[in-house]
Every structure is written in C-alpha cells, then in structure tokens.
C-alpha cells in the first residue's frame, strides 16, 4: 500500500531519526510512504487570526498535492499534523479564508479555475496508520525484539490532541493510541497525569526558564509514576525534554522504538 507523505522541515534536519525509522518501519509493515513533491515547511504553528492567508498557503499546496496523489496525507511530526489538519478544516469549511486562498492560488497559476482546493484530502497521523492501516495485531506479530523491560510514559503533548473539535485524533482527556502503541511493541505504558500537557514549544527559544519549570513539572509527574522514558512524535517535545529537562528522563521518538522492536534498528 502507498500513502502520500509530508515529512516537514524538522524531519529533514534535526529530527532525521524520526523520519528515517518511520519510513523503514512502515515499509517492513507493508506500507510505503511516498513523499509529495516540492513541499515547503508548514509554518510550525497554526495561524489563528481570521485574516491569515499567506501563512496557510504552504499547507494548502501540500494538501492539494496529496489530493492529486491518492487523497490521503500522512505526517509524523505533531506540529505538521496540527497545522495541516487545521488548515484543511478551514478549506473544507469554505469560508472567507478558503475563498481568498483559492483565488490567490488560481491567480498565481498554481491551481486552475474550477480545480479549487476544498479540503478533500484526509490528513492522517503516523500512529493512525499503525492503528488503522496496519493494525495493532499485525504490528505485534511483526515485533521480533519486544521492548519488555521498558516502562514508558506516553507523552501526547498538545499538538496531536487540541483543539479536539478539529483534530479528532483521540479522546482529548483520556487518549489511548500511544499506550496501545507502547503495548504493541512489547513495552509497558505507565499512567501519569500530565501526558497531555504542552512542553513549552517555541517559548523555549526566548524564555527557556519558563519552559524549564513546565518540563520539570511533567518529568517529575512521569517519574513518580515509574516512567524511564517519554514517548513522543514531536521534535519540540523531545528538544525541551532534553535541553530544558532534568536530564534523567529522556524523550524518545515513536519511530525509533518501533524500528528497534521490528529489528531494523540496533
């Protein structure tokens, strides 16, 4: 099976591991990720102001490219998932932003008139591919190196889940998909309260102290529950855990663990 894939800026640079092991793992599970052509950075944060159009164009172009290549777009990075899904919802809604963005894309020759983008593409997160296209049972059966001794905290953060009215990813208060993933690769998920809490994201650039307090709160909570590492799909979460954390609790990418369990990563 082939699915269109949007890596995003960070997976090309600081988070190459997230990308590489993601592709290789899915390939082993029978899904080929086909990178869309000429994609640009999604912008990393969803522009909330109602008059923002320019900042949404790169996401719309990616969504339109996927529309013409199977109609589904898989992404791994939590930020890309958040931005693509929310921009897609704007386009589907067909309001002012959608009209003006389409006008611009037609006027600049990117789209032809009558071929406007109306939110047709389905944005899918990598974890959803594992659950809905591969299936936990098939994944379990493919595991050759179960991570038996690992007690892992599922770290959802903010971007996968909120706002739930648009993201519809999992139960926003009590999500289970990461825990199901952790079980499927043979490890044990621990239960802790702050798994849906934001890591501090871009605020870390100018005011790292505010973020240190935030990460400390999350890490202590996970440590008390017995976690030895936190599982994430987000480069920002991983960065803040590593650089602004207490140094004891590591953030690991879902795809690194997956590749290890499937025996393709040492």
């Amino acid at each position: 099976m082939k699915l269109s894939y949007y890596p995003g800026c960070t997976l090309r640079t600081q988070a190459k591991d997230l990308d590489k092991w993601g592709r290789l793992s899915l390939e082993k599970l029978g899904v080929q990720l086909e990178e869309i052509e000429n994609w640009q950075c999604c912008g990393a944060v969803y522009p909330q102001a109602t008059d923002e159009i320019a900042k949404k164009l790169s996401a719309i172009r990616a969504l339109d490219a996927a529309k013409k290549n199977g109609g589904k777009l898989v992404t791994l990075c939590s930020a890309c998932f958040n931005v693509l899904k929310r921009v897609n919802a704007d386009m589907k809604e067909g309001g002012d932003v959608a009209k003006r963005a389409n006008n611009y894309l037609v006027a600049t020759g990117y789209l032809s008139g009558g071929d406007e983008y109306k939110g047709e593409t389905e944005v899918i997160h990598y974890l959803e591919v594992l659950r809905d296209y591969v299936g936990w049972d098939k994944l379990k059966a493919a595991v050759v190196n179960p991570l038996k001794d690992m007690k892992l905290g599922a770290y959802y953060g903010c971007l996968l889940l909120r706002p739930n009215s648009v993201m519809r990813f999992d139960n926003p208060e009590n999500p289970q998909i990461l825990e199901d993933f952790i079980r499927a690769i043979g490890a044990t998920p621990v239960s802790y309260a702050l798994r849906n809490e934001c890591c501090g994201n871009y605020v870390a650039l100018k005011t790292p102290d505010a973020v240190k307090a935030q990460v400390d709160k999350i890490e202590r909570n996970a440590e008390q529950a017995g976690a030895t590492a936190l599982v994430t799909a987000c480069p920002s979460c991983r960065y803040n855990l590593k650089v602004n954390g207490n140094g004891r609790l590591e953030g690991v990418y879902i795809t690194e663990l997956l590749a290890t369990a499937l025996g393709i990563k040492e």
């Binding site: 800026c9 600081q14 990393a44 909330q48 109602t50 930020a79 926003p172 934001c198 605020v203 505010a210």
Partner: protein, 128 residues
C-alpha cells in the same frame, strides 16, 4: 482608528465571541503558563469585551502563551481565549517595528539541538 473601532477589529481578528464568556475562569485555571502571565487568559476575554485594549497590548502574557489550546478545550461556552491572545499579539507585531525576535539575536539563541520547528514557530508568533 479609535478604540471602539480597534476593539471591533480585534474581535473580528480573534474569530471568537467574547460575549459568550460566563467568567468561570476554567481557561486560566488550566493554563500551563498561568504563573508567568501578568494578564490571565480569562482577562484577555473580558478586557477585549470591555475594550481595554492598551492593557492587553502591553501585557507580557503575549510572549508566554504556548498556543497549546488548553484554554480553548476547557471553555464550556465555546470561547477561544488563545485566539484572543493571538489577535492582540498580531496587533502588536504587525505595525512596522513591532517584531519581537530580531534576526540578529537568533544565532545566540541557537544550540546544536534546537529544532527548526521551534525557530519557525517563534518567528511566526513573535514577528510579522
């Protein structure tokens, strides 16, 4: 632009109906940056409703909001405090000279680990 006009423009820019707020404070109660905020999320909503724009534009909270949508998720009345904060922030950074993150200061903020996501995100939030 007089204050009424500015207030209406910002309400429009936020895309949320601040008059729906019933002042329960759940948004601020859930905000992970509550301690850092001089003006709290629920106050952004009520100040905008009352047209106290200057207070909001001078608030340090604009630079601490994580856009994590906790406040939006918790609001029982469908108000989006994060969108109000963003609309006010935009009104501060959009005029000439309003950028908060100067390109010259970026190299000193970087280390070998900083993901692009963080830099792009900060640029988008703090600059126009």
């Amino acid at each position: 632009m007089d204050n009424t006009e500015l207030t209406n423009r910002l309400k429009e820019l936020s895309g949320t109906n601040v008059r729906q707020c019933m002042k329960c404070g759940k948004c601020s109660g859930r905000c992970p940056m509550f301690d850092k905020m001089d003006v709290k999320p629920h106050q952004f909503v009520s100040y905008l409703a009352d047209g106290k724009i200057e207070k909001l534009q001078n608030s340090k909270s604009l630079w601490y909001c994580l856009s994590c949508m906790e406040c939006v998720e918790r609001c029982p009345r469908g108000v989006a405090p994060a969108a109000v904060i963003e609309a006010i922030r935009e009104s501060v950074v959009r005029p000439q000279g309003g950028n908060r993150l100067q390109p010259e200061e970026v190299p000193a903020l970087l280390n070998d680990e900083v993901p692009q996501q963080l830099i792009v995100g900060a640029y988008r939030k703090y600059n126009h």
